[in-house]
Amino acid sequence: MAAPTSNAAAADRSRDPLWLRIVLILISIAFVGLLLVLPLTVIFMEALREGWASYWAAFRDPAAWHAIKLTVLAASIAVPLNLVFGLAAAWAIAKFDFRGKSLFITLIDLPFAVSPVISGVIYVLLFGLQGWLGPWLASHNLQIIFAVPGIVLATIFVTFPFVARELIPLMQEQGADEEQAAISLGAGGWQTFWRVTLPNIKWGLLYGVILCNARAMGEFGAVSVVSGHIRGKTNTLPLHIEILYNEYNVVAAFTMASLLALLGLVTLAAKTWLEWKVQQNSTR
């Protein structure tokens, strides 16, 4: 039997030698460790540099609390709105066939192609004092730019595609067979959605919401353009970090940064867990 051994030999030769594996694994760990893990570690080390007392002291600043509240407020408006949009868009795209569908999908992805700063600029051009609607807003005593509504709008824009993007491929893959069966058995539209569609997409939906929320709470560039940086008024947590850092209040800046880093870590853990969960479901 000559063939199997030569196959095995070829298979063996097509495998990387041990020394190469070790070298490549070490390079990967060193690169990721130096570039990604070190910054993460530094955040917590710098925050705790002067001990836990200084760490907790940073929370006694009312401006910090205001920034935290504003960040949560902006995310709690932006995420549900983009969630409803994502569900509606994915339903229309995945369950029906219509012309112009791929153009619609491309347009949904558009905000990802727009850089954070430009995302802010477009709202200033629309609602700012020199903007299209600026004079009208000013005469009605409405302020959007350099105020909370502008921050919310910019947050909605940068997190716009997250939920839709998770749901569209997932729902397209699942097709419309189950829903059609439910409808032909006499279920109503809402009933079908709640009982058939939602259970099928719940993990993807949760994944999209988690990513959307992480970006909403962490957005810096877009919000920075529209906020006006009024302390205790229009500062979100990332903007407050910038101010503290520029005032050389390093411990407080890193303390606030550690909050957002924790949010990032929770997001990563949830993502890993959800991917594992989906894999479990698909192999069963």
């Binding site: 694994i25 993460l40 509606a88 600029v121 709202y123 059609q180 560039g221």
Partner: protein, 279 residues
């Protein structure tokens, strides 16, 4: 009457969901974006050209594009190594390494920015060892490059991973049994197959780097003509109430990123067509 551009379906809710999502898309995305282009279209061509070719603006393009290109190139090399290790090898800590790759996505940019600055500043964690060697990492173009490398890595790794997983092991074995050594197999068999994915990952990292703001502004030092990136220049113009200047530069950057996106789609379309033909 059913609209002719839509196939018949028993499922309800088409008009409601499509109508609502198109309305929301228009209000949140399309109308604000078009404001930028209308503003630019109303600018005299001379003014527009003078603004976008001002020496300070040109210097910011050079820094932004140069540092983004270097960062994406570093990521193409090391991202390949990381993706290869994650897909091909089994070692303790692999899952953790895999999860950690997403850190730049998960960490808010301002947080990454101050952390990188704390590392590379003169008295920083690594900066204190680099300064005696004559290397000034923070507040220099090198710092901008480091930050742009940081944010680009996941794009390369996450685009390459599925391509490497789909790689046909038998083609590698065939290549080896025909007498090719490992390096030849890599250059002639592996690299050509995953090249579209590598280019896509590179382009995505490059595109992201061009528009990056938060992770760069802390480490760059923001000196006009030296370490000022284009995104920051747009904000500076806006803060000086130079709306026209900010609009013009923003339009240039937006067009560049749209062109990049188009190029990425072309690469993917070309690669998909190649596979269908049996290449």
């Amino acid at each position: 009457m059913r609209p002719r551009w839509k196939q018949y379906s028993v499922l309800p809710g088409f008009g409601l969901t499509l109508g609502y999502s198109m309305l929301y898309l228009s209000l949140v995305v399309l109308v604000p974006l078009s404001a930028l282009f209308f503003r630019t279209a109303n600018m005299p061509v001379d003014d527009f050209w003078r603004t976008i070719t001002d020496p300070r603006v040109l210097a910011s393009y050079r820094l932004t594009f140069g540092a983004s290109l270097i960062g994406a190139s570093i990521n193409a090399v090391f991202g390949f190594v990381v993706a290869w290790t994650l897909v091909r090898y089994r070692f303790p800590g692999r899952k953790l390494l895999d999860a950690v790759v997403d850190l730049p996505f998960a960490l808010p940019t301002a947080v990454s920015g101050i952390a990188l600055t704390a590392i590379f500043a003169k008295t920083g964690w690594l900066g204190q060892y680099l300064t005696p060697l004559g290397i000034q990492a923070a507040f220099s173009p090198l710092g901008v490059t480091i930050a742009l490398t940081f944010i680009g890595l996941p794009f390369v790794v996450r685009t390459l991973q599925p391509a490497l997983e789909e790689l046909d092991r038998e083609a590698e074995e065939a290549s080896a049994s025909l007498g090719a050594n490992r390096l030849q197999t890599f250059w002639r068999v592996i690299l050509p197959t995953v090249f579209p994915a590598l280019v896509t990952g590179f382009a995505l990292a490059f595109a992201r780097a061009l528009g990056e703001y938060g992770s760069v502004v802390f480490i760059s030092g923001n000196m006009p003509l030296k370490t000022e990136i284009t995104s920051l220049l747009i904000i500076t113009k806006l803060e000086q109430y130079d709306y026209a200047g900010a609009t013009a530069i923003a339009t240039v950057m937006l067009i560049v990123s749209f062109l990049l996106l188009l190029a990425i789609n072309l690469v993917q379309w070309y690669a998909a067509r190649g596979y269908q033909k049996g290449f």
